[in-house]
Symmetry: C2
Subunit: 656 residues, 2 copies
């Protein structure tokens, strides 16, 4: 039964019911039910990732080329294209679900690990952005009739060595002050917060609460939101937590979300969504650790420029239009409550600075975390995701750019691509007789292949001669795994009976081309930066690899396919989620906070889109490992020994 135009949708296997009006899509219904359905294009009917099975009822649907005949027979529909016209039962197949993803934490990170040592190693003075200071004021007498407010300032100055003229007091604090001082018998704990050049009295509490001072560091990723709860006075990480960014329902990548927010006038909704995620994660952290919201006095947020815009409700529309402008790179500290974040009502939100529309606070935070500003020799910081941000620099200069790597590394634009979630093929070895070895995340039957798995796969296919240096599948090899289907060659990684889905898992020629383009984008970005400083690869001392992808990457394979420059793997370091690490450091050290500002203002941004040299570099990198094999001597050696060099269109004669 349905009243008027409202219909009931029953989602399986979640067993969730939701009512939705006629005219909405099944994808809309899933949003309403708070069920994540894989969707990359954000509901535009382009990516074909939102496949669901219509187990009961009928939908209004358009014809699509994104479903095979086989799928159509099995009642597969695209959730985003299926208009609701009656009550439905929808089964979400495994490959469309979003579950059990490995969300990146620092692996070293233990509960209650003291960060004093980490700060010390990074040469940052421990000096939290907000601090609580216990003060025993001298009660006033006729001989000492200094006013309440000035009495407090004097005590702070005595204890903290703060100059009076930088102190600021909020109006509400001032109003409560005489009562607070007298009721506490002149023993109070003052919360001081850095705000630009001033030091603000955030809070005055009765008695000694100086040990109850917490901060939250947050990395707002396009996909995941990761947070750490820190006890500030002892510089300890209390706990960490991660959740998916609920904005995913508006589009998988941030450009889609900008478009959604413009087309639907939904900037407020975008802001509320991310703020709600942050509040949820903080709520989880405080409940699990029995901490009062009131005692959280600061929050530091890092993230790409668009995520920061959404967090603050800043209009992101100029980010995707020439000349690609953020509203602001540097965001002044504001009260967290102003954006709706639930911590102490006067607690401060510190948002880390961006450099440009496509080099955000995640990169400045990361560069700070790895102390790129302390490097003697030029070093690279590479953060790989849908965009690959690259920073080249040392203690004297920094240049940066962002390469549109495409979603292949995130498992998208690839037939059986998936996120690094449960069932994703992680490591692949392909033997001389083309047999494939693999493991999966969660040790379950494979459901697809994630970015790092794909990268390993391509490297192995190159080594075993399944593909040539152009990435072309070699028809000549003798194996049943290579087959032609619908005019395209594909290589069967896992047979149907072994998978956890209802088909085999294959790598198509298109998949390979996608990945080659992605890695070429990264390498071309590296090349452009190196050239811009008139350096060569041999001048690069270290490479720091960050991002969700980074930690699981086989570096040797990344060099073999020509994504990373050819250098000793010992000089390539995984640095994990440096965006979060940097946020933690700034929470704990004003010096780190100043450093991230300094790094942001010093970084020179190169726009690759408008750079003709970039296209040239990209074309040269669009081979395995590269057109110019001289840039990859170790790969030359490796491939020569495996006798695979002769296969494929070698262009050894072309100069880069």
């Amino acid at each position: 039964m349905s009243k008027d135009n409202t219909f009931k949708i029953h989602f399986l296997p979640n067993d969730k019911y939701v009512e939705i009006e006629k005219g909405n899509t099944v994808l809309d219904a899933s949003h309403k039910a708070n069920i994540y359905i894989n969707s990359i294009c954000g509901g535009d009917g382009i990516c074909g990732k939102c496949k669901v099975i219509l187990s009961s009822g009928k939908v209004y649907k358009q014809t699509t080329t994104l479903l095979t005949n086989e799928e159509v027979e099995k009642n597969y529909i695209l959730a985003c294209e299926a208009g609701v016209v009656e009550d439905l039962q929808i089964l979400i197949p495994k490959e469309t679900r979003l579950e059990g993803k490995k969300i990146l934490f620092d692996q070293d990170e233990q509960h209650s690990l003291t960060w004093a040592a980490i700060l010390n190693k990074a040469q940052f003075k421990q000096d939290t952005l907000t601090k609580k200071v216990f003060l025993k004021l001298e009660p006033p007498t006729m001989d000492d009739s200094v006013a309440d407010h000035e009495r407090l300032y004097q005590a702070i100055m005595m204890k903290q060595g703060v100059e009076l003229n930088v102190m600021q007091t909020g109006y509400r604090i001032l109003k409560q002050l005489p009562e607070t001082l007298r009721q506490s018998n002149w023993s109070v704990t003052v919360t001081l917060g850095h705000r630009g050049t001033t030091l603000e009295i955030v809070e005055v509490q009765h008695g000694d609460t100086s040990q109850k001072n917490y901060g939250v560091a947050i990395d707002i990723g396009t996909t995941t939101v990761v947070a750490s709860l820190l006890e500030l006075s002892s510089a300890k990480i209390i706990d960490s937590e991660a959740i998916y960014n609920s904005q995913m329902k508006f589009g998988e990548d941030y450009i889609q979300r900008i478009i959604y927010s413009i087309q639907n006038d939904a900037l407020d909704e975008m802001q509320k969504t991310i703020v709600s995620d942050i509040n949820k994660i903080i709520s989880t952290l405080i409940k699990r650790n029995d901490i009062n919201l009131y005692d959280i006095t600061s929050i530091v947020c890092a993230g790409n420029t668009t995520m920061i815009h959404f967090l603050l409700g800043l209009d992101p529309s100029n980010i995707r239009k020439e000349p690609y402008l953020p509203v602001a790179n540097s965001i002044p500290p504001i009260r967290a409550a102003q954006v709706g974040i639930d911590i102490n009502s006067r607690g401060i939100l510190y948002t880390l600075p961006s450099v440009a529309a496509y080099v955000g606070a995640d990169i400045t935070s990361g560069s700070t975390a790895i102390r790129l500003d302390k490097e003697e020799m030029p070093s690279l910081f590479i953060d790989i995701g849908t965009n690959g941000e690259v920073v080249l620099g040392n203690k004297e200069w920094m240049v940066c750019c962002s390469a549109s790597a495409g979603p292949a590394f995130e498992g998208s634009g690839v037939r059986h691509g998936m996120r690094a979630a449960k069932g994703a093929i992680e490591i692949t070895h392909i033997s001389k007789d083309y047999e494939v070895s693999y493991s999966t995340i969660g040790n379950v039957p494979p459901r697809g292949i994630c970015g790092s798995g794909l990268l390993d796969c391509i490297a192995e296919m190159l080594r075993s001669g399944i593909i040539d240096r152009s990435g072309n599948l070699q028809k000549s090899i003798e194996t049943d795994r290579l087959r032609k289907k619908e005019d395209e060659f594909e290589f069967v990684l896992v047979e149907k009976e072994e998978t956890g889905i209802d088909s085999e898992i294959v790598i198509t020629q298109a998949d390979i081309s996608n990945l080659v383009r992605s890695k070429a984008a990264i390498y071309a970005a590296v090349s452009i930066l190196i050239e811009s400083m008139s350096l060569s690869i041999s001048d690069i001392h270290s490479v720091y690899l960050a991002g969700g992808f980074g930690n699981y990457l086989n570096v040797r394979n990344a060099i073999t396919i020509g994504m990373l420059p050819d250098m000793p793997t010992s000089r390539i370091k995984f640095v994990g989620n440096t965006s979060l690490t940097g946020a933690k450091m700034t929470l704990l050290s004003e010096e780190a906070f100043e450093t991230v500002q300094k790094i942001a203002s010093q970084m020179t941004y190169f726009d690759l889109m408008g750079n003709p040299k970039y296209m040239e570099e990209f074309m040269s990198a669009n081979f395995l490992p590269h057109t110019n094999l001289e840039e990859f001597p170790s790969v030359l050696e490796e491939l020569a020994s495996q006798n695979t060099l002769s296969k494929g269109k070698s262009k050894l004669t072309k100069s880069p």
Copy 2:
């Protein structure tokens, strides 16, 4: 007819009706009707100033000694002691009304007078606390893709020479910025406001509005609120206005108001009352000059410590309890909207700093206005009201104190005392045959005598031998004007038929004693400060006299009675309402704003109440002009020539 316990009170001559519940007093009813009734004690039945005539109905009243038998016969009652038990008609007699007071303006002040010269003379650089700067930004291009916020900062930096790290931007401004910049075609006017060590972007407006920038300077007096509207970019005074402080209904002096606010938990009410006055005065100013509230970007407030507390809703209760503590002397700039003041919603309220509970922002503002901090030689700044605040200092040091002069100078505590309002006797000359010449404010029949008139009167009585140096009326003189009534001698200044009230105007022995005590309090304060610096009167270079009283004071008479030190009258200057002048200067000059802060922090406060020397000095000054005549050589000469010295208890032998 009255329903239940509510009764109708009809006030005459105002012809206003008000309904009030049983149990309230007639004074309460007058508050409700917004009719001012003279009341000094704030309704405690002590001052006897709230006499009204009960022309119809009966009240519940207590016996009082504050009404003469004659008054009781004429149906006089004390409004504060008269409990309402039925409908009433109340006639407010002239002497109880508050009307037509001369409110102190700067006499030189003309509409549109340029203050550039005044600032220049005071050696203050013209540099308004909030300023509007018109900026033509370069529109962004692919070669110049600086973010909106940073683009704005750069333009400000280029035009104003401001360092970037001191800049602050409010969250709302940031959110509106992309739209504002594009809609204005990159031509905007930025309002910058000084807030401590930072410079805040208060507002960003389309186009060039830099000429529309107004500020309001306000002196919040206990009795009157005086305001000037300034056009900031040209440093012109547009207009000024004054109204009574509506808090008067809660008590005439500020201590009474503190008590009222504590007893009635009425801090909020006190704040709302003064803020409402300020809003009224601003509203009058903008309507008269066709200015938009939105274009008022700053307001500077000066006033005594208690008035500032009421303005900000800060608990003043510790001001009247040992050790006499303000909540704060230095008040950070806040948004005017935070206290309810109606100017631009992001406009800034700058509150000038106090020194102590009894030396307020009116004094620091005044000391700034007269540039006491530039004096080479020690000089005195005296602001005379119910409290006489005295500052002694020069460019190197300042000491200050507050003497409780009592209300005699304000016309209170004196039988026929009144404020300097219409009908107040202003100048009195008494001839050798004891005939009295006078003029009145407004040239109407006299209704009483104001502070300065009283002071003249005492000086003339001393000269003519009506009183001796102790202030005692001389029974021996031959005139009908001297008479004994109810065991006390009094001197008839104006016969009944000449006055505008229903009786003669007399000066009683008690009145004289009150005034002598008042002047002694001031002189003793001056002496204490001079002594504290081991100086003598001859070291004092100038005396600056401020306050409502100051401008109308006959200086020679003030010296004759020993209120001011004996020095050439040419070195005694009337400086008018320096509290307002200082507020205007700070509005126009950041340097002046910094100076007032510096002066406040440098002033050393002497508490006279706890000072045994003060009582000694007070006793010595409790003669006319002083116990120690050597301190008053010119008075000695004057009185000797008039042969009045021999009269009275001379104590020439006693050292001070």
